[in-house]
């Protein structure tokens, strides 16, 4: 499977992360998103006229939209991550996958503005981002009351992967994560999963490894 990827794109990172967690090996095709704007060039526009990445190719299949790509990877390699098919759980997955689009528009927009100088109404983007974070915090808190650590169950699903990157990188767009204790615990639970991988801006949880004993090499 070939992923048209940009290393700093949280949407592309969703796909890399899901693939890592599902044990799928991706063939990465780096896209010069910044400064080259390659995603707006003829080759990529032919694959995705929306001019966005990620794009996944698997044989003749071309998929766009990160949520769809997450579902495809999970269905192929890690069906547990799709969530159960009981009515409520299936619907909840869809609810948070849709919600993740709002995170992209708000927190993602603020991040592009603050970091890569993309034009936009930064005040409005940040305010929408904060509204979305509050919604997520409340949703995760209610889940915790039901004894569930993740968005739709007590195990992570594609819904968590769809929401995590833009949330974790909210500070890149000038939106603080300090006021959200439940988001903090959820984020930590995801980062502590076996096979979790980072992207730039999300640091390693160094405490997962014991403190090394170091001998000084100097005299």
């Amino acid at each position: 499977m070939k992923l048209y990827d940009y290393i700093l794109s949280p949407s592309c990172y969703k796909v890399r992360l899901m693939a890592a967690l599902a044990g799928v090996k991706l063939d990465i095709r780096p896209v010069d998103f910044h400064p080259g704007l390659e995603h707006r060039g003829p080759e990529l526009m032919a694959l995705n006229p929306a001019g966005s990445i990620p794009i996944l190719e698997d044989g003749d299949l071309v998929l766009t939209e990160s949520s769809a790509i997450l579902v495809y990877l999970a269905a192929k390699a890690a069906p547990d991550w799709l969530g159960g098919d009981a009515a409520e759980e299936a619907a909840r997955v869809q609810q948070w996958l849709s919600f993740s689009g709002r995170l992209t528009a708000s927190l993602g927009g603020a991040r592009l503005h603050e970091m890569l100088l993309r034009p936009g109404d930064i005040g409005a983007l940040q305010a929408q981002g904060i509204a979305a974070l509050r919604e997520l915090e409340a949703g995760l808190f209610e889940q915790s009351l039901r004894g569930q650590r993740f968005l739709v169950a007590d195990r992570p699903t594609v819904a968590d992967i769809a929401c995590f990157p833009y949330v974790a990188l909210a500070p890149d767009g000038g939106v603080s994560l300090d006021p959200y204790p439940t988001i903090r615990r959820w984020s930590r639970a995801l980062r502590a999963l076996d096979a979790f991988i980072e992207m730039p801006g999300i640091h390693r949880l160094h405490e997962l490894k014991p403190e090394p004993h170091i001998e000084s090499g100097e005299a």
Partner: protein
Amino acid sequence: MTQDAMIDEWYPVGLVSRLDGNGRKTALMGEPIEVASDTDGSARVTSKGRVLPVRVRYGHVWASLGQPQKELFAIPEADQPGRRFVDVGVVRVRCSPLRAVENFLDIAHFPFVHTDILGSEPHTEVQNYKVEIREDADEVWATQVKFYQPQAARSASGGITTEYMYRVPAPTCSVLYKTCPPRPGEWDVITLFVQPLAEDLCDVWPWMALFDDESSMTDLIHFQQTIFLQDRSILENQIPRLLPLDPGMEIPTRADLTSVAYRRWLKRRGYTYGAQLVAQ
């Protein structure tokens, strides 16, 4: 307008490859400026109608708000055949331009911030190295800096002990020379050119001149963007935002001698835009 000695320095204000007739609005030390290409294709930088001195070099357009006393610093490697020149692109950071440069001069953070790329535990020790302020060139230099790196460059295939030299030729610019895996005997050149927008806000323009015939240009850009974006979240969370020049305020160790020399040089030269002089 500030009377800081930094006013007469050259600063990067845009990529040459992205110049266009429409012009790009940006800022330099609090002054709004506009960077455009003239009818003849040359770069033109204006501030409130005033035409600023301009240079086009190292992939970037450079300008000054004052009257530069010196020519833009030389990077001889920029003319060396066989190197690939990489425009990494701009990244905005909410921090002092001087903090951005100081971080670039630091290796002790590699294992914690650039984990498994530029450093990893337990290889955290910083060996002694040499630091000097070269009075003739008026530059800060650190040499014989060595560090163990799991993946020193895009082209590296395993851990090596890398040697670095650091150079600060201007208050908001640094040039580093590092072991070049495919070409023993040569140095890769990686720079950090910082455009001060305000005392606590900057646009960072990394640029590289590498020997690497294997990696694609996009791979090279992404490698450097990865590294810089790992630093960005640190830079935006240092307190205070300005770089403290009062020696009592932060605690350096031997590993920080480059930073100590950099701060001393800034103070001596009166380069204090983005600095905090008194402890708070």
